[in-house]
């Protein structure tokens, strides 16, 4: 019983549900109370203890139905396998290593020929537990586990019997029947393993994929992964926002406002019943993000914008600009559309070839410079490849003097800066921070730093 429950917990984790130890204990106690006999009751009892949100509940329901779906063997016989017996047997049968060989002491061939689907299903469950099927992760392991389970069910004995029957000229029909049954057995076990793979393997492999996506160069991420990336980005953004909002709350209360306290307490003969505290101005970063969206870096821009706008109210007053050969403000697009759509739209609208950093910088000087003050952080994303045009680094100097900070994120590795038509070496001196940034992990650490320095200096 316990083992079945543990397998079920594992399966739930496999479908992306986080279950705490606490919930597991509750679930076990709940099962004790309601018993295994009523399936719907069991489902709601486990559901109320294990699933903690409505969304989780949907995941849970699906996992429950898949997990407690009975291994079929329907094509062997018409009988339906009685479910609870199966659970009981698995619990008792898995006691010793030899447990699987003799559930009822019957040979596999006998089971197959008699068409006892319940006993077969039971045998398969025991075998699965013995070989540790719950550890399956990859589809490449399917063959291995199928083989292992068949062996644990007593395949060797069956094979010997088949070859014996073949040698005996008297029983060719029996040999044929056994071979057919063996094939059916293979199909059943294979299906069983596939179902378990879907149950146990989904979440770990997705996690692997996520880790891979986070360290991957943003330009190499394929379109089919965009949806997943959006999910990851918003997850990270939420985490960052949470971390920094908490720190800020602590800092809101400042020193004792002595004057106000005295004034208010004059009514009590100067006895200070009520105290008043100075409140600190919460300093949220004002960010101006300027992104190169030309072919070579647009992927990076896409994710930076996505990230920034997912941070929500942690960044007040976020203005974003896109450019290839001139500057375009795109903040409005983000205000009117959901972030994902807005990014797509910006990428389509502000296109064109021939990056011109010189012209863009002149645009910045003309349009933007007046709005930049000591509270503004300027975030520039681009590879600084200027197609041999004028660099206009003097505008960068102006920016550097006016802004609180100028951060340049360059997708190229540092060793490439200044090579060919890259003007990075000329711009870099006028940046407070200039760093290589080409994966989600880089982006995360940069933005974390951006938020942290702001709350620390508040």
């Amino acid at each position: 019983m316990q083992a079945t429950l543990e397998d079920f917990f594992k399966a739930l984790r496999g479908s992306d549900l986080k279950i705490s130890l606490n919930a597991q204990i509750d679930a076990a106690r709940a099962v004790e109370l309601v018993g295994w006999s009523d399936r719907t009751l069991l489902k709601s009892a486990l559901g109320t203890t294990l699933a903690k949100t409505t969304a989780d509940r949907a995941l849970y329901d699906e996992a429950f139905d898949r997990f407690f779906r009975f291994s079929s063997f329907e094509n062997m016989a018409a009988q339906d396998p009685p479910d609870q017996d199966q659970d009981k047997q698995t619990a008792t049968g898995s006691g010793g290593p030899g447990g699987c060989q003799g559930s009822g002491g019957q040979a596999l061939s006998q089971l197959l020929m008699s068409g006892d689907s319940a006993a077969l299903a039971k045998r398969m469950q025991e075998a699965a537990r013995e070989v540790g099927l719950t550890d399956i992760w990859f589809f490449t392991q399917k063959g291995f586990y199928t083989q292992k389970i068949q062996q644990a069910m007593g395949l060797e004995l069956l094979d010997r019997e088949i070859s014996d029957a073949k040698r005996q000229t008297l029983a060719p029909e029996r040999a044929k029947a056994l071979e057919l049954a063996r094939k059916k057995l293979f199909v059943e076990v294979r299906n069983f393993v596939e179902r378990k793979l879907a149950l146990f393997g989904t979440a770990p492999t997705r996690q692997l994929h996520d880790d891979f996506l986070q360290s991957q160069k943003l330009s190499n991420i394929e379109k089919r992964d965009f949806a997943r990336m959006h999910v990851i980005v918003s997850k990270i953004a939420k985490r960052l926002a949470e971390r920094h909002s908490r720190r800020k709350k602590k800092r809101v209360r400042g020193q004792l406002d002595f004057r106000k306290t005295l004034r208010k307490n004059a009514a009590y003969d100067g006895v200070m019943f009520e105290t008043f505290w100075r409140s600190k101005v919460v300093d949220r970063p004002r960010v101006v993000a300027i992104c190169d969206v030309s072919g070579s870096v647009r992927q990076y821009a896409r994710f930076l914008l996505l990230f920034l706008h997912s941070l929500g109210e942690q960044v007040s007053d976020l203005r974003s600009f896109a450019f290839t050969n001139h500057l375009v403000e795109v903040s409005d697009t983000f205000e009117s559309l959901p972030v994902e759509q807005a990014v797509d739209k910006v990428m389509q609208a502000v296109g064109g070839s021939g990056t011109d950093y010189g012209q863009t910088l002149l645009d910045i000087e003309a349009q933007l410079l007046d709005d930049i003050d000591r509270r503004t952080t300027v975030l520039i994303l681009g590879d600084a490849r200027n197609n041999r045009g004028q660099a206009h680094a003097e505008v960068m100097q102006l920016l550097y003097q006016r802004a609180r900070r100028v951060i340049w994120l360059n997708p190229e590795p540092v060793s490439f800066w200044g090579l060919g038509d890259s003007e990075m070496k000329r711009y870099a001196p006028y940046c407070h921070i200039a760093r290589e940034c080409n994966s989600l992990a880089h982006l995360e650490s940069t933005l974390d730093a951006l938020l942290r320095t702001h709350s620390a200096s508040a």
Partner: protein, 322 residues
């Protein structure tokens, strides 16, 4: 600490029946969760759309157990002083003024500051005793002699700080008042938290609770609820009415009619002596269960079709929630 949870219910069906006896018709899902919450001694976090009976459930439990229901409505900015206790500041001030003379008498003969303070100390912290304490819902809940049902309503509206404070109360059923020391519950209350999902609750809170989601009821359950809540409603009207509401819930509305609205509507129709749903009557009473102008407009448009479907469903009750 004694616990109300010792008051066992023998089975889930038994619990459902007793809830039915106090006019709360619980689905099996609800009864299971409450039964488990009861036996595992855990608070229950109830989620679901507004008006499906989250609060009623707590009221029903209080009635069954014959203990008071203490309700704490959460809102933004709710803090400890509003939820737990507050010193009756005005009373303290008034008393010190009134007792000024007495204090003077008491101090007579005391030489020097140290001696005076010594004398004051002999009288305890009179001004910070229970007489000057304004108990708020949580404090009251801990102080009930026979236990109580504590309903923390719309916990999602409270601030994260308050949620963290609530954790301490929910896990140990004790709070510390600096001036009085730790206050422990005399009898462990039964706790229901409700949430409308305006924000995600913290993992820590979720971990301490069982989770129960109450959706809109199925037709069969809703008919039973109406039978209970609106006695005197004819069986035909009951069936037609429920079928109609169920059909309305399939529409794309701003706010879908909930059980409480169904009940209101049934009461309205009963007052109007209706035997069947007629087009005019429905048109005239739409505003009882639809709360937005837009919703009423779109429902009026489709009214004949809705009515026809409701009548059809009412005749073959099996198909009513396809």
């Amino acid at each position: 600490m004694k616990t109300l949870y010792q008051h066992h219910f023998d089975s889930i069906d038994g619990l459902a029946q007793r809830l039915a006896a106090v006019d709360y018709i619980a689905s099996r899902e609800i009864a299971t969760s409450v039964y488990l919450g009861f036996n595992l001694e855990k608070p229950i976090l109830v989620e679901g759309p507004a008006g499906v009976g989250k609060t009623e459930l707590a009221k029903g439990m209080a009635e069954i157990l014959d203990v008071p229901l203490i309700r704490m409505q959460c809102y933004e900015g709710l803090d400890e002083s509003k939820a737990l206790y507050e010193w009756k500041y005005g009373k303290q001030l008034l008393y010190t003024q009134l007792l000024k003379d007495k204090l003077g008498e008491m101090m007579q003969g005391a030489v020097g500051l140290a001696a005076s303070i010594e004398r004051l100390h002999a009288h305890d912290d009179l001004f910070f005793s229970e007489h000057f304490l304004e108990p708020r819902p949580l404090y009251q809940a801990l102080h009930q002699e026979r236990g109580c049902v504590l309903l923390v309503d719309e916990v999602d509206k409270s601030d994260p700080e308050f949620e963290a404070f609530l954790l301490e109360v929910l896990s140990d059923f004790q709070v510390s008042v600096p001036e009085l020391g730790t206050i422990k519950a005399k009898v462990k209350p039964i706790v229901f938290l409700t949430s409308n999902n305006t924000r995600e609750m913290s993992d820590a809170l979720k971990r301490r609770c069982l989770h129960l989601h109450i959706p809109f009821p199925e037709a069969k359950l809703e008919r039973r609820i109406l039978e209970r809540r609106v006695p005197g409603l004819s069986a035909t009207l009951n069936r037609e009415l429920v079928a109609f509401i169920q059909a309305v819930r399939q529409m794309d509305l701003k706010k879908q009619p909930s059980v409480s609205e169904t009940i209101d509507w049934a009461k309205t129709l009963l007052l109007l002596h209706a035997e069947h749903l007629s087009l005019d009557m429905v048109k005239g009473t739409l505003n009882v269960f639809l709360k937005f102008e837009q919703d009423i407009a779109s429902a009026t448009e489709q009214l004949p079709a809705l009515l026809q479907q409701a009548r059809k469903d009412a005749e073959s009750p099996r198909a009513s929630h396809a």
